[in-house]
Symmetry: none
Subunit: 188 residues, 2 copies
């Protein structure tokens, strides 16, 4: 049996909070009701339409990035992004990324840069790493700039395969093949 109105509306609310980038049409399908019902629900719950929701999220981001633009440390700065195709990010290795004894970058920072890039390049609301084979081909020292290049190389079943190569001055320092899980079918 279909959900009662109240239940549906609760789930609807949760769903939109989780994944605000969802259209009424998709919602209608998942709840197996008409679009109009979804719209009445949104009206009653005073949930704005998709485009307003997106704007809201974007606005938050905009305000934040204006404030928190110190791009320095983190997991790299994305300098190029073509969804479902390729992405490039830069990470400057600093004191805090390395073992103090030998100034060599700790592996998980290189991994984090590559992994987050693999997530970002996926043109989907939900992308998770399922598994990966990774190679640390050369130690990276503090002061070096790592450029990670991610490219989508294919799809097997529900998985998207992303290859990431990270370079310091055209020398490969990290390689990884990431098998990414994505919720919905890939958009052509």
């Amino acid at each position: 049996m279909k959900l009662k109105k109240k239940e549906r509306q609760e789930k609807l609310k949760e769903m939109i909070e989780e994944t605000p980038f969802i259209t009424d049409e998709e919602l209608a399908k998942t709840f197996d009701v008409s679009i109009q019902t979804i719209r009445l629900d949104r009206l009653e719950l005073s949930i704005p339409e998709l485009r307003e929701r997106i704007k809201h999220v974007a606005n938050n981001n905009w305000n934040e990035t204006l404030k928190a633009l110190p791009i320095d440390e983190v997991i790299g700065e994305v300098v190029n992004l073509e969804l479902d195709n390729l992405a490039i990010s830069i990470l400057d290795i600093k004191e805090e990324h390395v073992f103090s004894r030998n100034m060599i970058a700790r592996g998980h920072h290189l991994f984090a840069q590559a992994n987050s890039l693999a997530v970002a390049v996926i043109n989907d609301e939900l992308a998770l790493t399922a598994n990966a084979e990774i190679y640390f081909t050369r130690p990276v020292k503090a002061g070096e700039r790592v450029i990670a290049k991610a490219s989508v190389v294919g799809h097997d079943k529900k998985r998207t395969v992303v290859e990431v190569k990270s370079y310091v001055n055209s020398e490969v320092v990290f390689e990884g093949k990431f098998h990414m899980y994505r919720t919905t079918e890939r958009k052509s």
Copy 2:
């Protein structure tokens, strides 16, 4: 006199970068040209339409919470350590470890816990990860406690192989085989 095409396009580009939430209509007014001219300009410069720009900004927010991740400090607390044999660490997954949409832990945190444990268990001054095969077998949610167990399983040439399994309540959530490089020969 009105700006020449080239000048206008440069300014247009700047303007859209600065304030991506601007419609063609507003742009047309500020440059005192027709909407169609603006659209031709965007076409030539391959600048997407407003709604796509907004989505992109929003998407960044979603995909790349990158911008303030405190990966550096918390990689788990070591609770047991027998050099060259096994090690155990605990990591409590908190808000800052997860994607905000779905509360699923970002992969690199699980990796960081496992990788740093693999480094720690090696009884040597210098241990680096050479390569690894890793599997994220179950999503981990905020609030869950991840217990990682690393065990040294063997040596091939100059490498030490460490297996790490991470659990939430006796359920495996992450598995990895880490091939570690070490400077000196292993002490028997």
